[in-house]
């Protein structure tokens, strides 16, 4: 055990985590230069392109230090706020962490919150100043920041460049010298922390774990303590570049388990694996069942593709345990699914994966959070879709989820960001200058406001120099209303949204204006109205279309015209009909970008 080191890398998106990880793998010859593909740890195309890690990973390296062989387990962590619970479990599987900070950008909100997670788990922190080769690097300023943040010695900070390979030997040496070996009782009953799972289409779910106490044998019967499920450890092994099966794994080891589990949902990150015959007295602390925070309907663009979409969703769920869904019917969109996501990025990822991996184009409806609605009958209802909202006269009060948001930005943008947050019904709780130029702002804000284009706006206002982290706080009473959209008097359920009353007029007006642009004129006038209950709060009128032809049609026009009309017809087929009005799919998407 004393030759094992388990560590993770804490870094903000783009601060070079994956590149540095690649260098560590190269230096320890875990992977030959020939097999090297940039950002090896990010398997999914989507991860490589976006430069973010969606799923966490683990990889084992052998490293010789002062003549002794060490086993280093690098536990990669997902790099986004939506996945903070997964991050916390990955951190709990480690004894140390590399804190990677970009020498030109400084620490960001997420880095700090993940750092706190690591410190709470008593991890040893190795500060690394990355990208020192860049022309814009300000090593001395950022070092000041890191010293302030960590209370560490200035000399503890290792200057590095993942790209140039600078600092890699020093980092490896520090891992061995500064991070303690795992502790734990090899003879105690098995306690292994599940910190990730992967889907393999041939072998089912691969459970990734870290043994905290005891050991595990191949073929042994095991139990997952929180779900209560029992399995046979059909295969266990370590995670090199490829999986390497082992007969036995010991306290402190990191590895995988295959036991014929088919669906990711069955495996809960944070759960404890124990031995069936000799179970541990208690599970490892910190288990939580992650709950979706953001909800939206997902519908196939072509109504006939519902079954294909179902199949795709089922496959997605195999390796995305956080995704929940159930069938939903919309009068406007037909058959689809009500989905729950961890956050907005998670929602985007699901959408993109549906497109890339399953070639499905989908319509996503207005995202919503989960409201708690107390009815006048004293019934408490959870409402995460506008359609489920009771009529206004049946509502006693509504509570909405609030988050604690932490934003780190350059001082120049503080004004703009404050303005944005105030506009989003936020309460400023704290403002700290990390350096003369960098500020940390803390807000309490309604999650419902974050799900609409908050990130985009934050990025725009700060020209990209703002990072956000948040956590759920509590539910608070709010004056929420359900805003409906009607076309010639017919409600379009897919365009309804639950919004704060103070914003409902503006929302209704903008939405009606946008729809007026997007709905093609038809041979009759169309009234576009926004309403709260029975009360119309906004209206736009789309005048009738008087003609759609009168051009000439001779010998040279026939083919071209036929093709043009065939193309238009295809587009029209994708439209949805509500009452007698045809609505293009863009109109449903427009709601997402209403501001």
């Amino acid at each position: 055990m004393k030759h094992i080191r388990n560590f993770c890398i804490i870094a903000h998106i783009d601060h070079g985590k994956s590149t540095l990880a690649d260098r560590l793998l190269e230096f320890t010859q875990t992977v030959g230069a020939r097999d090297m593909q940039a950002q090896l740890l990010d398997d999914m195309d989507l991860e490589r392109e976006r430069g973010i890690t969606i799923k966490s990973h683990a990889i084992q390296m052998d490293y010789f230090h002062k003549g002794e062989k060490y086993t280093l387990n690098l536990i990669d962590t997902p790099g986004h706020v939506d996945f903070s619970y997964e991050v916390s479990r990955s951190i709990a599987a480690c004894e140390g962490a590399l804190l990677l900070v970009d020498a030109s950008q400084g620490t960001e909100a997420q880095t700090i919150s993940n750092l706190y997670l690591a410190l709470n788990n008593d991890l040893v922190i190795i500060p690394v100043l990355n990208k020192i080769d860049l022309p814009g690097a300000m090593p001395e300023e950022i070092k000041d920041e890191m010293v302030d943040l960590l209370g560490c010695d200035r000399d503890d900070i290792i200057p590095a460049s993942g790209k140039e390979g600078i600092g890699v030997p020093e980092i490896l040496a520090a891992i061995v010298e500064r991070i303690p070996p795992p502790t734990g009782d090899p003879n105690a009953p098995l306690q292994a922390l599940i910190f990730d799972s992967h889907f393999n289409s041939y072998r089912g779910i691969e459970v990734i774990f870290r043994i905290k106490n005891g050991s595990i044998r191949k073929g042994e019967k095991v139990k997952f303590m929180n779900t209560g499920k029992e399995y046979n450890a059909d295969e266990i092994g370590i995670l090199g570049l490829e999986q390497e099966p082992r007969d036995r794994m010991e306290c402190g080891d990191v590895g995988y388990l295959i036991s014929g589990i088919k669906v990711a949902k069955e495996v809960k990150v944070g759960d404890t694996i124990t031995s069936f015959d000799n179970p541990a007295a208690a599970a490892i602390q910190g288990f939580a069942d992650v709950k979706p925070m953001v909800f939206a309907g997902i519908y196939p663009v072509e109504t006939s593709e519902f079954e294909d979409l179902r199949e795709a969703m089922e496959k997605l769920q195999l390796n995305d345990a956080a995704l929940v869904w159930e069938p939903e019917t919309s009068a406007a969109l037909g058959f689809g699914f009500r989905c729950g996501f961890l956050g907005m990025l998670h929602m985007e990822i699901v959408q993109e994966r549906l497109e890339r991996e399953f070639d499905m184009t989908v319509i996503t409806t207005v995202p919503s959070v989960r409201f708690e609605v107390m009815t006048t009958k004293g019934e408490l209802r959870q409402v995460s879709a506008p359609a489920d909202m009771p009529e206004p006269n049946l509502i006693d009060y509504i509570e909405e989820p609030f988050i604690r948001a932490q934003i780190i930005t350059k001082a120049d943008y503080v004004g703009g960001i404050m303005g944005l947050c105030m506009d989003k019904r936020s309460i400023l709780k704290n403002q700290v200058y990390l350096t003369a130029d960098r500020v940390e702002l803390q807000f309490e804000m309604p999650l419902a406001e974050v799900v609409f284009d908050f990130f985009d706006k934050l990025k725009t206002i700060s020209r990209g120099y703002a990072s956000l982290d948040y956590e759920f706080m509590d539910n608070r009473e709010s004056d929420m209303v359900k805003l409906d959209v009607m076309l010639n008097g017919d409600k379009v359920d897919a365009l309804s949204a639950i919004v704060h009353r103070s914003k409902s007029y503006e929302w209704g007006k903008k939405l009606c204006e946008k729809l007026r642009e997007l709905i093609p004129r038809q041979q009759f006038e169309i009234a576009i109205q926004a309403a709260i209950g029975q009360k119309i709060i906004a209206r736009e009128t789309l005048s009738a279309l008087r003609k759609d032809v009168l051009a000439k049609c001779y010998g040279g026009d026939i083919s071209r015209k036929r093709k043009l009309l065939e193309k238009q017809k295809k587009g029209k087929k994708r439209m949805r009909q509500v009452g007698n009005v045809e609505i293009p799919q863009e109109a449903f998407m427009a709601v997402l970008k209403i501001n």
Partner: protein, 376 residues
């Protein structure tokens, strides 16, 4: 069978026109020679060598010299025989002409030797609109053209008009057109095509799009005015005195085979369509070296049905259900029953006896009706 000849030259570019043409008149003669060669190469394209109509289109065919017309017509006579049309009418030989080319009686007399029908591109009788469109003629020439053509022996005349500019101009244009008492009138809604001067102005915001309700209004006015004056509205953009329908154009709408000669010309042999390259020098080079200049597309059954719907519904004949069934290999009526009944309810389509036809209000939505009936 029907022969189209595309003469891709104009004195100047009209601001609305997106047909293929060049203003480099020095290439006219060599290009005509290439067209003669194309006739030699492709005369067997059609199932028979009997021609009922010939159409000189463009561009501006009235720019052709006697020698050039001679070359073309001699070649045609060498390879084809002219026969009476499908209504027992004599072969129709139409030549598109601009009023400014019809000022000279000698020239008109020359043209009369090669053609028995003129299609005169008047477009409007309004001076300022003619200038705005960059037409080569003036209002006076527009009016005189028809009289001079008649004097030269052209009884079979058609004029082109464009509407969609202003109500007052259109009313005057219609009035003027009626006084000319020509047997045939083609009237087009001004359409702003991207690759034209108007299209570029529109993109830059220098021009506002043609007001669609104004166009609809003027179309209705056009139809009622001309029908009252004894014209038959036999195709959306075409009006004729009884039995004076354009035979050549009717062939397009009735899916008869035609051969198109010249750059950008389209041909149809009953099962496929093809078109020549829309570039004079590539065309000449291709013809002179015997390399291919055409793109051909074989029509599927669905393509044929859709083309028939597209062209047929625009005409007074409509679409014959028995023909649709034959192309489709199943009953069109039962295949498209819900759509047909929806369109009937909207008041755009009638299904009379064995034919599908547009109603008066349906004519304003002909494209939409056709595409809704399209099959896959």
């Amino acid at each position: 069978m029907h022969l189209y000849l595309h003469i891709p030259f104009c004195k100047q570019a009209c601001h609305y026109c997106d047909f293929h043409f060049s203003t480099n008149l020095s290439q006219k003669r060599p290009l005509v020679e290439a067209m003669v060669r194309e006739i030699e190469q492709r005369h067997a394209y059609l199932p028979t060598n009997k021609l009922q109509t010939i159409y000189f289109g463009g561009g501006t065919p009235s720019l052709l010299t006697e020698a050039e017309l001679d070359l073309l017509v001699n070649s045609i006579h060498q390879h084809f025989t002219l026969v009476d049309g499908f209504n027992g009418q004599p072969p129709e030989i139409t030549l598109e002409a601009n009023p400014d080319d019809l000022a000279d009686p000698v020239r008109l007399a020359m043209l009369r030797r090669y053609a028995n029908r003129l299609s005169i591109g008047i477009q409007t009788f309004d001076e300022s609109t003619l200038r705005w469109m960059n037409r080569a003629h003036n209002a006076n020439e527009a009016k005189l053209a028809v009289y001079r053509a008649r004097e030269a022996g052209f009884d079979n005349l058609s004029i082109d008009l464009i509407y969609g500019v202003s109500d007052s101009i259109w009313s005057r244009d219609l009035e003027q057109a009626l006084t000319l008492n020509v047997p045939h009138i083609s009237a087009y809604n001004l359409t702003i095509e991207p690759d034209t001067a108007f299209g570029r102005w529109l993109a830059k915001g220098k021009l506002t799009a043609v007001d669609e309700s104004l166009s609809a209004r003027q179309f209705t006015q056009l139809s009622s005015t001309l029908v009252d004056a004894g014209y038959v509205h036999y195709e959306i953009s075409n009006f004729a005195k009884p039995d004076q329908y354009a035979q050549h154009n009717s062939a397009y709408w009735q899916r008869r085979p035609y051969l198109g000669i010249g750059p950008s010309a389209h041909s149809y042999d009953g099962v496929s369509r093809q078109h020549n390259v829309a570039n004079n020098s590539l065309y000449s080079k291709g013809i002179n070296t015997g390399t291919t200049i055409a793109e051909r597309e074989i029509l599927t059954a669905a393509d044929q049905v859709n083309e028939y719907l597209l062209t047929g519904l625009r005409t007074i004949w409509g679409c014959r259900l028995s023909e649709l069934d034959a192309m489709l290999g199943e009953s069109f009526l039962s295949k498209q029953a819900p759509t047909i009944s929806k369109l009937q309810q909207t008041g755009w389509l009638i299904c009379a006896e064995n034919d599908l036809k547009l109603t008066e209000s349906g004519k304003l939505f002909a494209d939409r009706v056709a595409s809704e009936l399209f099959v896959e």
